[in-house]
Amino acid sequence: MAQGSFAEATLRVFRGDSKGGAPADYRVPLVPGMVVLDALHSVQSHQAPDLAVRWNCKAGKCGSCSAEVNGRPRLTCKTRMDSLPLDQPITIFPMKAFPVIKDLVTDVSWNFTVNKKIPPFSPRPGVAWKMYQRDVDRVQEFRKCIECFLCQNVCHVLREHGKQEQFGGPRFFVRTASLEMHPLDGVSRTRVLKENLGIGLCNITKCCTEVCPEDIHITDNAIIPLKERVVDEFYDPLLMLVRKIRGAKKV
């Protein structure tokens, strides 16, 4: 079949492993509606059968296929080829904040370790299992998270400063917010936020919010309210006094 140059694209894909690597170019025929993940699959089927890429649903619901496309962290299954300039190579690199295993696959196991630090949902004793939509709505936003880890990838505390030991990252502030703001939850996680997840290191640059494919307002709706709770509990002398007198634990 005759193909004009307009019907093909060049992918410049990182090939390599933990020891190093370099980008390689592949020409891929275009199909209407094609997304970057389709193009990578085309490379796998016809040119590089061992090209490593994670994916599951191909519908933006599982968060497996994260990569940096033309320098921007995105889900490759939701990035349309026709949204990119096709007259120049499309660069596809692994997420920078995580160690490369091979090609586009990175070691994200650190995230699963962080999750274990967060005390689980703990219902208040004797609670009646009734909730109202307005209370649930506030939390459901956070529960839309598909764990693509793009927010973790762009967070400069992790990406530039490598504070993985002290800092939990936006994904786990969102997760903590979903528990803290659950209408029936009965424990406080502010100490964990301050001491184990290092929320104080976040200086609200909103990079995480910008890349979230689920449009979760990570900074405004999760991180800032959580930071306020930490400030109230640990740094507000007046409130600390009130709390001491009343013995209240949870705001």
Partner: protein, 575 residues
């Protein structure tokens, strides 16, 4: 056992970390045994995350008249009475408790005005029965189970593929597999093994299923000597995306119809009036899928070979609130604003009703120590699954499997594994690297998908099925000579080369069973035998490996006790 291999030991080993696997793990842990969960992907990425519409449970929060009896009847009618009645009974009675439990573990469902869990209408369900979270119910469910399991202390082995079940005589002794990341082999020694690996959608070209759906568990069980049953019943979901081609097959949740979506052909006719005038778009999936397919075949389809599904008569903010992922999916992938115009949809391979034959109460397969739950197991759904019954299936039978597997583990001594099984398993994984030439696994997979799509699809006939069998035979010969390039380090070509074995095994079981069943029932439609056949309504097709050959035997459908039969007699009057 050979100490050259990395070995892990557990009382209960669970293969698969979707809803069923995680629920089984939580239950087994609660019994105080040690539990390992192996999954092919990262934790939390299993196909359950893609379940959108909701979880069916007769909680009667919206329609007060609903109860387990109606749910039971709907399930059997949907399944054309080929269901295991006992599984359907357990499912209908236990589902509400499993949903409440999920809520008590932190899941947040949409609410009714008085603060109860909200329920929506779905195809084949008499009442509004599906508990849901917008159109991302599966994500809510898997995240809740995942976090619960992690905090209870399950050991999760991520990105690990099991290629063989290990046995000690007749009983299960563990499993052999490899780490996808490094390609190193690993042995799991276990007293019981629970298979929760899902279905086989990736054997078809147009499918809503992810890459993991390669029939692993069914093939593992079959290779180990277990029985597979009713494999001809493959569900084609009526509504997958059809355009553009890059998104073909991606699921359009039944919740679109549940919330009032209307199907029309290219002439604007609401064609479901012809096929099921009473239930219309909320007919069962087999009926709606066949109706759309028939419209297309008879020249009344859309430009790209589908039908129009329209929800734009509902207020835009309602659509965005109840179907947020569908709104974004069509806007981003197909440039269609579903609040303003119709979606183009067509059938897509979605779910396997057949699977590993299990006991209803314990989920135990025909091999001691082997259990199965979820889509990998057979019984609950009969000839056609109702939407929403899969998520409740995962919880009800995941829990039962975990419980029985733990009890089994407590009863028996540690098995021994002889090294010859392991050496053989290792050898079969490594030979594709050693071949100087041979087919690419991707090419074989593409041809398999083409054959199953065109010959073992929604409408079947003897000639097509026979042709499919001969093509599968040739594909198996090619797969036996498959060549893998590169190293064992995270090599998708190598991973696919193994998956081909499972897919070809299960595809053969589907095709042979479909050829044998000379009638049309539920999701299995034979053009050459278009009617329901009472004789076939009394038997199951069972596939088992005998002397290395796939053998088909018939097995009678279990007789329903009189008190349950009575439920159908009582309810002859429609409401």
């Amino acid at each position: 056992m050979n100490s050259n291999y990395e070995t892990h030991e557990h009382d209960v080993l669970i293969i698969g970390a979707g809803g069923a696997g995680l629920r089984a793990a939580i239950e087994a842990l609660a019994q105080g045994v040690s539990v390992g969960v192996v999954c092919k992907s990262l934790l939390g990425k299993a196909h359950t995350v893609m379940a959108e519409g909701g979880i069916a449970a007769a909680m009667a929060n919206v329609d007060e008249a609903d109860d387990w009896r109606t749910h039971f009847r709907d399930t059997l009618r949907g399944g054309k009475f080929l269901n295991n009645w006992r599984m359907a009974q357990l499912h209908a009675t236990e589902a509400p408790e499993r949903v409440r439990e999920l809520e008590q573990w932190g899941a947040l469902f949409d609410r009714t005005e008085n603060g109860e869990i909200l329920q929506r209408a779905f195809g084949g369900h008499t009442f509004k029965r599906l508990c849901h979270v917008g159109d991302r119910t599966g994500l809510e469910m898997i995240r809740t189970l995942q976090d619960r399991g992690v905090h209870l202390g399950i050991d999760v082995y991520m990105e690990c593929t099991i290629t063989r079940l290990l046995k000690d005589g007749d009983r299960i002794a563990g499993a052999f597999g490899y780490w996808r990341e490094q390609g190193r082999f690993v042995i799991f020694k276990a007293k019981s093994v629970v298979i929760c690996t899902g279905g086989i959608g990736k054997a078809w070209k147009i499918t809503s299923n992810s890459w993991e759906y390669t029939g692993d568990g069914m093939a593992l069980a079959y290779d180990a000597g277990a029985e597979l049953m009713d494999m001809e019943f493959v569900q084609f979901h009526p509504t997958g995306m059809v355009w553009p081609p890059g998104v073909q097959g991606i699921l359009v949740t039944e919740a679109v119809r549940g919330e009032g979506g209307i199907l029309r052909n290219k002439d604007g006719e609401r064609f479901m009036e012809r096929y099921d005038p009473k239930k219309l778009e909320l007919s069962t999936r087999d009926v709606v899928a066949r109706s759309i397919y028939t419209e297309v075949r008879e020249g009344r389809g859309t430009e790209h070979g589908g039908a129009f599904l329209d929800i734009s008569h509902k207020p835009a903010d309602y659509v965005k609130r109840k179907l947020p992922s569908m709104y974004h999916q069509f806007l981003e992938l197909a440039d269609v604003d579903i609040t303003k115009g119709p979606m183009e949809v067509g059938p897509t391979c979605h779910y396997m009703m057949g699977g590993i034959r299990v006991d209803a109460e314990t989920a135990q397969a025909s091999i001691p120590g082997l259990f199965a739950a979820g889509e990998a197991a057979v019984g609950l759904h009969g000839a056609n699954r109702l939407g929403g019954n899969s998520l409740s299936d995962l919880l009800v039978f995941g829990r039962r499997a975990g419980l029985a597997a733990a009890e089994q583990a407590r009863r028996c001594a540690a098995p021994t594994i002889d090294s010859s099984q392991i050496q053989e398993a290792e050898r079969s994984m490594l030979t594709p690297f050693e071949r100087p030439d041979g087919d690419s696994p991707y090419a074989i997979h593409e041809d398999l998908q083409g054959a199953m799509q065109s010959l073992v699809g929604i409408f079947r006939n003897e000639e097509d099925l026979r042709q499919a069998l001969s093509q599968l035979e040739k594909l198996s010969e090619r797969a036996a000579r498959v060549r893998v390039e590169g190293s064992r380090l995270f090599n998708p070509g190598w991973h696919l080369a193994w998956d081909l074995h499972s897919m070809l095994t299960v595809a053969e079981a589907v095709t042979r069973s479909a050829l044998a069943r000379r009638e049309s029932r539920g999701a299995h439609s034979r053009i050459d035998y278009p009617a329901l056949d009472d004789a076939w309504g009394k038997k199951h097709n069972v596939v088992v490996k005998k002397a290395g050959t796939m053998t088909l035997v018939e097995s009678p459908v279990l007789e329903m006790p009189d008190d349950l039969k009575q439920l159908f007699a009582e309810e002859s009057a429609p409401k």
